[in-house]
């Protein structure tokens, strides 16, 4: 085997040193009836060349965004990714390290996480962030559980405008701990939470209210009203935010959010069929000790030199076991590093440019598509990088035909129970020419 350096001779020598004759003798503690007698039903071995061929064949059966012009979003976006990211995260010292348990020889990972935590705090205007979570949806579920623990309440208010898959993940986590959920309905006109129906939910019992900003449909939610209600009643404000939108939008900290989460895919990560990216998680100083996940802190070494180390570890499973704030252990550190590099190289101005271009291009495409007879804006609230259109057409069928022209059309929302709607996303990666061609193709298909 090409990754096993031990030679046949060494194998014999090592067995002899153990007083054993054959490899099977190493497994003498395993009861005979437990030993697997056959050969595993897996293919291989493949040489490196055969492996590459097989993967190329699989990849060729997919149509990817380097060949198609994509307007798909809904949680995963086709942003520009600076080339240096892959080169840096490909360095073996980062790629092949475990969690930085021995700080003296893992300052590289530790410092990069400290920088990451700082950047997340800057984006969100929160006091502290952890070292990352699996994704935005699971981070939101953990945020709800944390709000329950902090308030000793067992009810969570969720907006109907939250990403439907995130709703499912949150439901699963909360149900397993017998936490009740109530929904704030959507205003059919604006597309955001229906402020006229706020009295329908039991605020006084709520551990938190969740707001997704922008919401699943790309629309900006009236956070201030919800913040007022929840804080008046002793609950927490949990915000799920799109990090790119924070280049322009008022940060959650200024809106008095208590916990902020989000998915970091748009920060320099591959789309990768939905993973891996990472979830971010930030909170206030007051709630730090209830936060799940790993955290890096600054300290000094024996000579007084600045150093970084995993800290506040008593919150975690390896110490507190069943009383831990969460069971999370491995996180998505390398993806968080990619985001740190992304935010560094984009920098203060570049990051703003990304958000600004997304907004302008989204607006442009929306206006152009609205010129097509039969298509209407689904909602009236202002939007950021995504918008839903309404049309009495078979969006799935339209998308199949768009593929022939090299386009990945907007997401048909039939899968989420809204057959007339499709959700379009535009990033800075789209050009005017691509959008114009898309509009004219779609026009042709609809009329």
């Amino acid at each position: 085997m090409r990754y096993i350096p031990i030679t046949e001779d060494e194998r014999r020598e090592m067995l002899t040193s153990l007083g054993l004759e054959k490899i099977d003798d190493l497994f003498q503690d395993i009861p005979q009836e437990a030993i697997f007698q056959g050969e595993l039903d897996v293919p291989g071995p493949l040489s490196e060349a055969e492996l590459i061929r097989h993967f190329r064949e699989l990849a060729a059966k997919n149509q990817d965004a380097t060949k198609l012009v994509s307007f798909l979003g809904a949680g995963v976006y086709d942003h520009l990714t600076p080339s240096i990211i892959k080169h840096i995260i490909g360095r073996g010292e980062f790629l092949t390290a475990y969690t930085p348990y021995q700080p003296e020889i893992t300052q590289g990972v530790l410092q990069s996480i400290f920088e990451y935590q700082t950047m997340i705090c800057e984006l969100t205007a929160m006091d502290a962030a952890n070292a990352s979570m699996y994704d935005g949806a699971s981070a939101l579920a953990e945020a709800c559980l944390m709000a329950c623990a902090a308030t000793r309440r067992e009810l969570v208010i969720l907006p109907a405008t939250l990403h439907p898959e995130w709703q499912e993940v949150v439901r699963l986590y909360l149900e397993n701990q017998d936490v009740a959920m109530v929904y704030l309905p959507q205003d059919p006109q604006t597309g955001t939470v229906d402020l006229s129906r706020l009295d329908e939910v039991p605020w006084a019992e709520a551990a938190c209210v969740v707001v997704q900003q922008p919401n699943f449909f790309g629309l900006l939610e009236p956070v201030a009203e919800l913040e007022k209600r929840v804080h008046e009643n002793g609950g927490l404000l949990v915000m799920a935010v799109d990090p790119i939108s924070l280049s322009l939008l008022k940060p959650p900290g200024e809106l008095n959010a208590d916990i902020v989460v989000g998915d970091g895919q748009s920060l320099g990560q591959a789309m990768g069929f939905g993973g891996p990216a990472f979830g971010f998680f930030a909170t206030t100083d007051k709630l730090i000790r209830r936060m799940p996940g790993r955290v890096v802190g600054e300290t000094v070494d024996a000579e007084g030199k600045r150093a970084f180390v995993l800290t506040l570890q008593t919150r975690e499973q390896h110490i507190r076991r069943e009383k831990a704030t969460s069971n999370i252990c491995s996180n998505q550190a390398l993806n968080a590093l990619a985001a740190t590099i992304y935010l560094s190289v984009l920098g203060k101005q570049g990051f703003r440019d990304v958000g600004y271009q997304c907004l302008q291009k989204t607006h442009y495409l929306k206006q152009r598509l609205l010129e097509i007879p039969g298509l209407k804006a689904a909602f009236s609230a202002p939007s950021f990088r995504e918008f839903a259109l309404r049309g009495a057409v078979d969006w799935a069928e339209i998308n199949r035909r768009l593929l022939d022209h090299g386009f990945l059309g907007g997401l048909p929302l039939a899968r989420f129970g809204q057959p007339e709607l499709a959700l379009f996303s535009v990033t800075e990666a789209r050009t005017k020419a691509e959008m114009d061609a898309f509009v004219s193709t779609l026009r042709g298909l609809i009329s």
Binding site: R91, L95, E104, Q107, V109, Q111, G274, L312, Q332, G347
Partner: protein, 486 residues
Amino acid sequence: MTVRANVPLIFERSTPGRRGYRLPELDVPETPLEELIPQEYLRSEPPQLPEVSEPEVVRHYTQLSRLNHGVDVGFYPLGSCTMKYNPRVHEDLVSLPGLSAIHPYQPEETVQGALELIYNLGEHLAAIAGLAKTSLQPAAGAHGELSGLMVIKAYHNHRGEGHRNEMIVPDSAHGTNPASCAMVGYKVVEVPSDERGGVDVEALRKLVGPNTAGLMLTNPNTLGLFDENICEIAEIVHAAGGLLYYDGANANAILGIVRPGDTGFDVVHFNLHKTFSTPHGGGGPGAGPIVVSKELAPFLPGPVVEKEGDRFRLVMPEHSIGRVRSFYGNFLVYAKAYAYILSHGPEGLREVSETAVLNANYMMNKLKDVFELPYDRICMHEFVLSGSGLKKHGVRTLDLAKRLSDYGYHAPTVYFPLIVDEAIMIEPTETEAKSTLDQFIEVMRQIAKEAEEQPEMLTSAPHNTPVKRVDEARAARHPVLRWRKA
């Protein structure tokens, strides 16, 4: 690894007006910002990100990388973490745009290759586990535990046995086991270990009952020992109506040798970033797929991939617990595990475990005369020594761990499992040469001698690392979790 100068923070390298990456010029007509987004939604100050050039960013993170130990840098015998070599070709494979640049909501007909990969990998993991069906959604080992326990709970509920709320966990278990139980609302019932390091079968008999939901077991366990009574344990738990959960953290010992499903396990999670060599990236991303029996398959988190003729489809299992995260899990991570399995084939996988076990026993045998070995029997892929003998020199296991850094090694896992005093858990893996094992053995013996003759070499270690011993108490007492401009 003896860079002694501080690397500044990226923020400290910032110079106003400097830029690192330029977007193409905006090519659509601009609308004033306030017309698109009402003023009250806009932020007044941009986030204070660093202002640095591309060369500075590259140099900064390259410098940071040089402060870090990885498998590529040197031996990393971190017990329970299976720090084996990560084949570089895997990075090339998952960079193919056909895999890396696809969107999870693309029409199924445009992602048949990705679905085929998911389907194949699920089948292969099921074959290795000796079970029926896989879900690749869980993002890490602990996430797999959580998902597996949710499946067990859903199964009991479905059968009208929702009162079963006790999960039995050995005292030697990883902390994630009890923590995952708490996440699904299960009460943790701890079963002690017997004098051979396995589950105390008689104690287990007394603990099972009508409320038993199941037992979580790592086998080989965290002492690196195979539980000889596994078949009897399975019988006891099943007879009480409970299910068996296999924590696959230590699966590197059993590939092709034991299939957990054959020994009575109903749910298995694999840590693909351990056993199947996907790089751990300084803490993640990992992947923690679960494989379950036929009876539990309808409850798996979804969607999963089914094959219909020569077409692959995403479907939700009949009684699926739902989604444990967005989309289909860490696709670009588990694609590397798929490559790993194909590279090895059935014989290669068996050779992986044989060699991992051989290497561990070889090292254990050569270290047990200098360090106490609490359970002196053949080990599997890892073994646990005790550093308690060092105490008489005023030295602790922690000091030994720090001293190892001076010799260019990452320390073993220390102070775990909790049932061994001053534990030192060593896992060499199969990808190390005999010469590396011999050198490490020599260094361990050397350090034991130092402990006797010049203990301060250990208690003040490390000496030639990028930073000296780090003050962890200070970090925890007065948490500084972010940089602020002075």
